[in-house]
């Protein structure tokens, strides 16, 4: 006689070490197999969009830091692009390079964190995470030299960047690039071809390309499924039109590919950083922007960038006042979560946490 089982509903989270923040999954299991999944979030909802209606355009930069708090530079960039579009301001070339450079360093930091936690979720208790954090720490030190802050940077402002890089930033950056080469090679050597990592992640939670596009998935998760869509190539902003880089793609869309694409993107980001260092020229770092920004009434803008998690966009509507009439954040983490149900149903409990890790969500951005 077969063993009689009955489905059991379990709440995973909101306080759970592997959910990357206050995220809850209501899962129905049959034994270890997942039958139903319902993602529940909103625990970190701070009403950023409503708060923005009460702040002036410059103050909102600090709010954007707190969306995806592991890639604040890129959030700043998307918001500043939207405001510049509203006002019709041309950013000086040096500022464009500084923005591209810091955004790529931030992408490296964010991907390192994504990779570290992904491996942590696989059960590697600490070691790869510490290897990732070793390099990320140095990037944060560089940010500290630029603007005095490590996480909530607010380095970019509408019209450019707030400070030019100090003189000792450039040797420190060179030193970082040199060290990072060996450090990252170590990480790659340890995990990229690691048999346990491969066995645990290959062929698990496959996301087909048509499904990914239909569910508006973007960023490394989309590219792991086979698309080469990258807004840095498709609608270049800041200095990306002057950069040479490839868009890494994978084909199968499983957990390993999502992780692999992030690893490859780090190489490309470092390539862009090196080109910025070569090409950057002296000049002003901020366009003439009034202290209190008042765009024309009725102006609207959709500022979008390829953030570390996917397409991040700020939709701004102005009524001619000192704060936006409406600010909407198109958050890649939230929209990438649309496919959780498809990815998880039918797989085992132990894969669930790994799959969530491979999506690399950030609750600050999901809940806003």
């Amino acid at each position: 006689m077969p063993i009689q089982t009955e489905p059991m509903t379990v709440n995973i989270g909101p306080q759970h070490p592997s959910t990357h923040g206050v995220f809850r999954l209501r899962v129905t299991f049959d034994g270890e197999e997942i039958l139903e999944v319902e993602p529940i979030f909103g625990y970190l909802h701070r009403g950023t969009e409503k708060l923005a209606e009460e702040r002036n355009y410059t103050q909102i930069v600090t709010l954007t830091d707190r969306l995806d708090y592991v890639s604040s530079m890129i959030n700043n960039q998307a918001y500043c692009l939207a405001v510049e579009d509203l006002m019709g301001v041309e950013v000086p070339m040096r500022a464009k390079y500084l923005r591209t450079l810091t955004a790529e360093l931030q992408r490296v930091a964010s991907h390192l964190m994504g990779i570290g936690f992904f491996l942590q979720d696989l059960g590697t208790l600490g070691t790869p995470l510490m290897y990732s954090f070793r390099s990320r720490e140095k990037i944060l030190d560089l940010f500290e030299m630029l603007c005095g802050a490590r996480i909530t940077v607010s380095y970019m402002r509408p019209g450019g960047v707030f400070f030019d890089a100090p003189e000792d930033f450039w040797p420190a950056l060179d030193q970082f690039l040199e060290d990072f080469e060996t450090e990252f090679a170590e990480i790659e050597q340890l995990i990229l071809e690691n048999e346990i990592v491969m066995v645990r992640t290959r062929g698990v939670s496959i996301l087909p390309l048509d499904m990914a596009i239909n569910a508006s998935v973007s960023g490394p998760v989309l590219r792991a499924s086979g698309s080469d869509w990258d807004w840095r190539k498709k609608a270049p902003y800041d200095a990306y039109d002057r950069m040479e880089f490839d868009v890494p793609t994978a084909t199968s869309g499983d957990n390993y590919d999502r992780f692999w694409v992030r690893m490859q993107e780090i190489h490309q980001s470092i390539r862009i950083v090196k080109q910025c260092v070569e090409q950057i020229e002296p000049g002003p770092t901020r366009a003439k922007v009034p202290l209190i920004i008042r765009p024309k009434p009725g102006a609207e803008a959709y500022g979008r960038v390829e953030a570390s998690k996917g397409e991040l966009a700020f939709y701004l509507v102005s009524d001619g006042g000192i704060s936006p009439y409406r600010m909407k954040v198109r958050s890649p983490s939230l929209i990438n979560l649309t496919v959780t149900e498809h990815l998880l149903v039918g797989w085992k409990l132990a894969d669930m946490i790994v799959t969530l890790g491979s999506l690399d969500i950030n609750m600050g951005e999901v809940d806003r």
């Binding site: 909103g42 596009i213 239909n214 869509w229 609207e300 966009a313 198109r330 929209i335 649309t338």
Partner: protein, 159 residues
């Protein structure tokens, strides 16, 4: 290859032929807030025909909008505006579709969930924070706030 933004006139020509009686005339400015500056990039659609137009935009071979970037809603006190940002990954172009809902009570729009799964959380978010419900969405409930929360916080009259 760089992505091209389609103009409102081009879109109006194609959509007007494909889905009869679906286009809204670009609205006269009832307040100063109607975005005059952006109208040349925008296709205005009647609110009742949103799903039909979306279906045409997705299936027409020349337009082929297979990717829904975002859905946003704006409260203009006397009316609401809902904005769809679309991209075609094959044809490499983008479009902005707008629609307008008059009044403040019991607002609803046809859902585009069945065309683009990506609308799922975004439509729920608009219901939660703006109070516009989407008919045809299989799971129309609050997403950021809890069930039983009073009001829709992103509306201009909520605080």
């Amino acid at each position: 290859m760089v992505v091209l933004q389609l103009s409102g006139e081009d879109l109006a020509e194609k959509v007007g032929a494909g889905v009869p009686d679906s286009l809204a005339t670009v609205f006269e400015k009832p307040t100063e807030l109607i975005p005059e500056l952006a109208t040349n990039h925008v296709l205005w659609v009647k609110s009742s025909r949103v799903a039909d137009v979306a279906s045409f935009l997705k299936s027409d071979a020349g337009l082929d909008f297979n990717f829904l970037n975002s859905i946003s809603a704006v409260d203009y006190i006397n009316h609401f505006e809902v904005i769809y940002h679309l991209t075609s990954m094959n044809k490499q172009h983008t479009a902005i579709i707008k629609t307008r809902l008059d009044g403040r009570e019991e607002l609803s729009l046809p859902s585009v969930y069945h065309l683009w799964r990506g609308a799922d959380f975004q439509e729920r978010e608009i219901w939660d924070l703006m109070g516009i419900s989407f008919t045809g969405h299989p799971n129309m409930k609050r997403i950021m706030l809890w069930e039983g929360f009073d009001g829709h916080p992103l509306r201009k009259d909520y605080l």
